[in-house]
Symmetry: none
Subunit: 142 residues, 4 copies
């Protein structure tokens, strides 16, 4: 399995947080199963072209959250996946961020339906990329 982690340098979200989010959500969704070995920190750092300390911090946060365990000398492994639910708190945060974007768009003079259409477009392009990636992965593993 190739690495699905994508970091965006321009984002406000710190790099280590992007890694934490993506790994923890992948675990929650079952894309990574219990007992599976995560990529070595240095390899991951090399692949993402970031500082190894940054990956170390991400793994450390994940371990503190109880999601993974590092065994010195052999690697880092996924713990028993606790089931996650879409909780109200996360939805609320998302809604607030959406409100902020809506206000910004309206202030820029974009009308309501254009704004919604634009968002729909971003969602679609996101889905398309994901599917493309999945196909590539299938082909790679064949």
């Amino acid at each position: 399995m190739a690495l699905w982690i994508q970091i965006s340098a321009g984002s406000n979200e710190p790099i280590y947080m992007q890694i934490v989010s993506q790994i923890s959500e992948a675990i929650a969704k079952g894309e990574i199963s219990a007992g599976q070995k995560l990529p070595a920190m240095r390899k991951l750092a090399a692949e993402l072209v970031i500082n190894p300390n940054t990956v170390a911090r991400a793994y450390s946060e994940l371990e503190q959250a109880g999601l993974i365990t590092t065994k010195t000398g052999s690697g880092t492994f996924v713990n028993d996946p606790k089931l996650r639910t879409i909780d109200a708190a996360n939805i609320n945060i998302l809604a607030e961020r959406m409100d902020s974007i809506v206000a910004r768009g309206i202030n820029l003079g974009i009308n309501a339906s254009d704004l919604a259409a634009m968002f729909r477009g971003r969602v679609d392009s996101f889905i398309n990329k994901s599917q493309k990636r999945e196909k590539e992965n299938e082909r790679d593993s064949t």
Copy 2:
């Protein structure tokens, strides 16, 4: 009109950003109309019990976003929305922020159409508030 701005000290979002968001949303909703004077920096700072420099920074961001104009010695005023232009750079920034939200939503396990519907809902509630506000203004001025 009382002051509607509410800041939460414990939040991850910096104080000046909370002010920026709330004022720009208020402008987008029409709660503050063009030409209206914003509270004086020092007064607002005193009311929110924060440093005047923090308010100054928020106002400065709003000015650079083209939403307000400061006239030294007389105050800070909301710009005419007609003066605002939709330029490519701003659209791109908006698109990036949308992408970030989409990724977050998908990571949370929300499917694509639910996400788009949710956004559409936020836009609609935004518009409804604006229209309600307009009606009240009409009634007040009658």
Copy 3:
């Protein structure tokens, strides 16, 4: 490469603006090229014997102008000029600044064609410096 920035304390122009002007002119002339790292805020502040916040403000203005990008923890870098877009708002601001100069020149008694010629001269000298710089860079990299 030594530090070329020179600030004059007695000037009417605020210090942070002097820094903004000098850096943005240096970028326009190609004296600093895309991807290059600017001096760290605190180091520059120490060298110019001013407060780090003043440098921070200058860098912040440059970032909002789209000329540089700051990456927390690693530094501040000059953007790729190709990423910059010519939008209507910026053109309008430029036009206003030109109008201000024209009025000033006319008030000083300079006639219209002399004024235009003078401006043309400034543009040419600007371009010449850029080209000279490019040639030096070519020779250096040979």
Copy 4:
């Protein structure tokens, strides 16, 4: 003679300074001659829709510079017009401001000849407005 003073609210130059510049240059050019009465401060303030204190400050600066004299109860009068020359200092300031604009334009991606053409355009539009105003003045005085 109508009032030729034009103030621009959006300018960085303070209003009182704009008045000082325009009156002093008008005196230098002989558009206002010695002994002539300047408009009353309150009338000028009303016409320009600004605070009377601002006009008072401008007149006060002009008096301190020895260009005008206020006689309480009768008005403000132009002193003997000292001849002014276009001095090097002013030209240098103008050149610096031009350089700043050139850098900004180049940074925005505008090429050299477009930039010069744009400036030429602003000069022309300035001249046209002046001539139009002169014609109106002629018609008014007929």
